[in-house]
Subunit: 225 residues, 2 copies
DNA sequence: ATTCATCAAGTCATCTGATGACTTATGAAT
DNA sequence: ATTCATAAGTCATCAGATGACTTGATGAAT
């Protein structure tokens, strides 16, 4: 049965305010109506208005200044975008992260520092020691290696995104798949580091793509069942 | 000078609660103390407690159930990832979006439908008509074209991210730069469509990269000033 | 004329008390 | 043992009040 719409006032107030912002009716830098006015506009109490505003402040859309008012800081709703990304399929998420892997490897080949290289080599070595801790530990070490490649790109935006996708993909895999994904072999990973160390962007991209292909193929196979 | 530390109670309450959660002292699934208890623990009023809790609910860390209590939903704050992306530099954001452009073009070359192709060609033609509406309108049409390429990749996660980056980059540019970025010529864009139409992934990637290079170079120049 | 202190109005920050809605456990009735 | 009504506990929401802060206006001192 369709569950009776059970939404709380704060959420609907938050949505209303968010709509005014992202639609541009309240422009960036503008001051929005004060709490008393919002109480009237939204037909909720001041406490509810404050909770709604506080949420949008925490998401970076609004900015309150005591004594002055509440101002629109940004129209880019990161939280909402993120929710929508989470609802996309596993293949889409994987491909998006692969896009980051590819370009990060290319940038890393051009920009890496000696320290970056040492970190990557150390993590690659640790990753090889299959001994400790079972599958979970292996996956964790594998991710640490890949993230070190992204870190070597020197691009903070890509690092944040990579973290996000890693978390989202892990969550989705646990929820949707019980089959195993192939574990790329040590050779494929070493090729990435070699290409980066040689400052060869094209080879770095090729190495990442080569290592991605079998995983993506297996993913397609599992999802098509 | 170092501005005098001016923190509000809600923020410090939010931090305290978040610390309990991420440290694991309040485990996932556990019920946290009720509002009255938190009022005592944090030495703030119920209203402040409610605002703090509401923020953590909006970030996915807590989950309130009326009549039952407030429970820990997750200990990882992935929802803040994109917020942090917003605070990275323009170059990083641009490169991250370029990573999407590149891979999207490659996927589009492999997966595009005839309808995708027609849309891209139409938007490309409209983009060419410099006539209407000045610089803003041109940028809007340019973005519409690029987004149609991402759409042709059939990857919804990449589409959402592309929207996010587009908005974030626009905001950042308005805030930090007044110089102009070079407008890639029509020829460069047509090359992308041609490569996709020819179902040639390598050429599609090359075409996007060729078109990105001058913009990125100008960006570096502007930012290094 | 400029600068500075003072003041008043507007706004958010916080607290307090009260009422309603919902969930859950308890215990009686069957 | 099951069902059902009841009560206690909890969050949701409202209303009123006070404090803190910002901003612009006013006027005195320079």
């Amino acid at each position: 049965m369709q569950p009776a719409t059970r939404t709380n006032l704060t959420d609907s107030a938050t949505s209303s305010l968010r709509a005014e912002i992202v639609s541009g009716r309240w422009g960036v830098g503008e001051r929005i109506p004060n709490e008393a006015a919002l109480t009237d506009l939204l037909s909720v109490s001041r406490g509810t208005v404050r909770e709604a505003v506080r949420v949008l402040v925490s998401q970076g859309l609004l900015d309150t200044r005591q004594g002055s008012g509440t101002y629109v800081r940004s129209t880019v709703d990161a939280s909402a975008a993120l929710d929508r990304v989470k609802r996309t399929g596993l293949r889409d998420q994987w491909e998006a992260r692969a896009a980051l892997d590819l370009e990060a490897a290319r940038l890393a080949a051009m920009r890496h520092t000696p320290a970056d290289l040492e970190t990557m080599r150390q993590l690659l070595a640790e990753r090889g020691t299959v001994a400790g801790g079972g599958s979970d530990a292996f996956i964790r070490r594998d991710l640490a290696f890949h993230k070190s490649v992204v870190a070597a790109s020197g691009n903070k935006a890509m690092m944040e995104l990579y973290d996000f996708f890693t978390a989202a993909i892990t969550e989705t895999i646990h929820a949707t798949i019980d089959g195993d994904l192939p574990e790329p072999d040590h050779q494929a990973h070493a090729a990435i580091v070699d290409a980066i160390a040689a400052s060869n962007p094209e080879r770095a991209v090729a190495a990442v793509r080569a290592f991605m292909a079998p995983v993506l193929a297996q993913l397609e196979r599992l999802l098509s069942q």
